[in-house]
Symmetry: C2
């Protein structure tokens, strides 16, 4: 028999998260306040507890994973690494394709890795209540479960269009005891302002973040929790890459290329950063972030200071951005509909240590169906982006007669995204390429801060 | 850290299925033909290939699992065994609770164990096309995937009420390339007859079986595939119990009681039969089948010869039955809405080697939510039945000051059943106890065969 899965034992769950900051050629650019001057950690205390802020600004290479978090990780970790034998056969390739499957988490995606860590640290800090945003619902459902596990009340601002289109992600969050509101809501000042202007505002991730931040900043008992973008979130996700490296090591393999979808950056950073450590040490490995052509922040956005949310409540961060007021088209990979990208991912991209490609929506669903029919697992639309780029690379290799070892992060299953597959099969999905003039126009709406 | 999961390696996937017939005190009662006389294997050749029929009537204790099937099982097997530490804490018990989690299969339930075996044997027999029925869709989605893996075309008769209420299970089957029809359909004689009498007939498992059998019997290129009830299906499912035994052995544990939901019997037989071998050898272990109070074939049905389908096309089998024309109420555990039970399970129950309990619907959802909040995984409504019985046993043990070791089969996740959870939270579900007079009345409609 050919081995399909490479499994670690619970004792092999990483003991430390890997902090890529320690291996970056330049220190991360500082966040800026409204006056354009660097802000210190204290600017974040209104919305984050101190132990999280400490991680956010840390330069230590290895950060210990608390025992309680590792214990919670045993609910599903270590996650399996698969060799995609059947997909390789279907593609008629000599390439070896491996994928790390994060959909085995009870919430169905990698997001639970950080949700558990954040719930734990907030609990340690005595926080009773968390707010957050969610798009497609992967992050919201993860925080709902994690909050319940650590006895923290969770209120989730869910992008209204997703709230309506993905009712079962909402049910899932409710099953774990969280409160879910359709954003924009009437419970925040910012939400009320938007609804007054347009009662049918469909919402966006940026808007939901603004609402969640506003509420956390204005209530003493409440902090805010973010599912991507920030350094500490990407840090927590490095368990993915650390495990994958160990699993490949067991069989004497090392990837030529590592792929992952990239929206805010936690999916990509989670699998890629531990390999970047090797790259910093001279190893030859290419790390590829895959984004939608409809929301191409890395491949076509401006490298500039911008806000993390739509209302401009967060500090400004140096990042690839399409403008914080960008309203992404309603593609089905809701988790990738974000105007910007993690500062860490952005800086590494700017310094050419990582690569990025953009793929159109139809190609991602083609790839997802091909994958499901070969490997069984129906992937989330976000995950389909990584698969699509891998299949493209395999075709290139086949033509060139090459045989590469490729690794990607299968970040989640698509069980709550079947309506998107239905639309794809019915021919109701379209490709969307973000127009050049809109990208140019966004430049003028960015906050004016010299880079 | 406390260990949560007990994992085997791929080489530990069982090499043989266990055939409980070899350890039964009496041989299985034979199926009967329309004339009331025992039918031989040849009565089945119109709808099953010879290699499947051979398994159906085998008395061999161990039947080799073909390498191709074991290879396909590596997509998700061995399945993990979990210790429910967090549920134990929530219940404040000294009992040890273990569950075998079959929801890790790409189709989301244990059904794929038999679907792959059946697709393989049909392929070996040169069959190009399979028909089948599905209720909630767990079996249909499994056969859709398995059929695609072995290059067999699959047509699925899906109970109409489920087709309408669970559109995403349908999407899943379509994603794997199967054709799905809402039963009763106009493509069979029997379906047309029912639609003529009532165009709004909501369908039932028994009707869908009749349609699938009719089509297979009338087309030379097509055979039929059943997801439960029959001996060979329960045989294939014994990988569940065989793995669970090995996993418990690794840690020196042995269950006092084993629980599983019971509709047709594949879920229960799969986990329980390998323990019955030990019981036959003198070991003290209680095996408990859990069924809904709304469809109580074992606990309240008649032990009699009856058909397996509504139209009476199958041979008659000795079983606990509510009558083949029974229309079960629309409870949400669609997989348990079947009028009868496997002959093997029925005979073992009649001979008091196994036990059965019936649980009401609301208690099963209460149990499912308690489980999800403790263990993370949201269980399928069918699986909630087993959990409900386990929680009842734990409460009994707590009161009596006992500490038992309990094992149950968590047969699938509830990702495609969130609408049921929504209704439960909204207070829209009801308990239903099947009325005594209807059970009595069913006796008169059974085919008249002396037992």
């Amino acid at each position: 028999m050919q081995q399909t899965k490479y499994i670690l034992e619970e004792k092999d769950i990483p003991t430390h998260w890997y902090n890529v900051v320690a291996d970056m050629p330049n220190p991360p650019a500082p966040p800026l306040g409204p006056d354009g001057k660097p802000v210190g950690p204290d600017a974040l205390t209104a919305i984050f507890p101190d132990n999280i802020i400490e991680q956010e600004v840390s330069h230590e290479r290895w950060i210990k994973i608390p025992d309680e978090v590792r214990q919670a990780y045993t609910m599903w970790r270590p996650a399996p690494l698969f060799r995609a034998h059947r997909l390789e056969t279907a593609l008629g390739t000599k390439c070896k394709i491996f994928y790390k499957y994060e959909g085995v988490s009870p919430a169905g995606s990698h997001k639970l890795n950080s949700a558990i860590a954040q719930a734990y640290y907030n609990k340690q800090a005595g926080i009773k209540r968390l707010t957050t945003e969610t798009g497609a619902g992967q992050w919201g459902s993860s925080l709902a479960l994690a909050g319940h596990m650590f006895g923290i009340e969770v209120r989730i601002f869910m992008v209204k269009v997703s709230y309506q289109q993905k009712p079962f992600r909402r049910s899932m969050m409710q099953a774990w005891g969280a409160e879910v509101l359709a954003s924009p809501t009437p419970v925040t000042e910012y939400g009320r302002r938007l609804l007054a202007a347009d009662p049918d505002n469909p919402g966006s991730l940026g808007i939901a973040i603004s609402e969640a931040v506003e509420e956390a900043a204005s209530r003493a008992d409440t902090k805010y929790s973010l599912g991507s973008v920030l350094n500490h979130v990407l840090l927590h996700q490095t368990v993915i890459g650390l495990e994958a490296k160990k699993q490949l090591e067991m069989i004497g393999e090392y990837p030529d290329m590592v792929f992952a979808p990239c929206g805010g950056g936690s999916n990509f950073g989670g699998i890629a950063f531990p390999f970047l450590a090797d790259k910093a040490a001279g190893k030859n490995v290419r790390l590829v972030a895959v984004e939608p052509t409809s929301c191409p922040s890395l491949t076509r956005g401006h490298y500039a200071y911008d806000y993390g949310d739509t209302a401009g409540m967060t500090p400004m961060m140096l990042q690839y951005t399409l403008g914080h007021d960008f309203m992404p088209p309603s593609i089905h990979a809701g988790g990738l509909r974000y105007h910007g990208a993690s500062s860490l991912v952005s800086q590494l991209y700017n310094e050419k240590l990582i690569e990025a490609v953009a793929v159109p929506q139809l190609a991602t669903f083609d790839a997802g169906v091909a994958f499901a029919r070969a490997e069984g697992i129906i992937p989330a639309p976000e995950s389909c982006h990584g698969i699509s780029a891998v299949i493209e690379e395999v075709k290139r290799c086949n033509e060139a007669g090459e045989a590469k070892t490729l690794l990607f992060n299968l970040s989640g299953h698509g069980h709550f995204d079947m309506a998107s597959y239905d639309k794809f099969f019915a021919g109701q999905l379209e490709d969307y390429v973000y127009p050049e003039e809109e990208i140019a126009a966004a430049l003028h709406r960015l906050p004016s801060v010299p880079v």
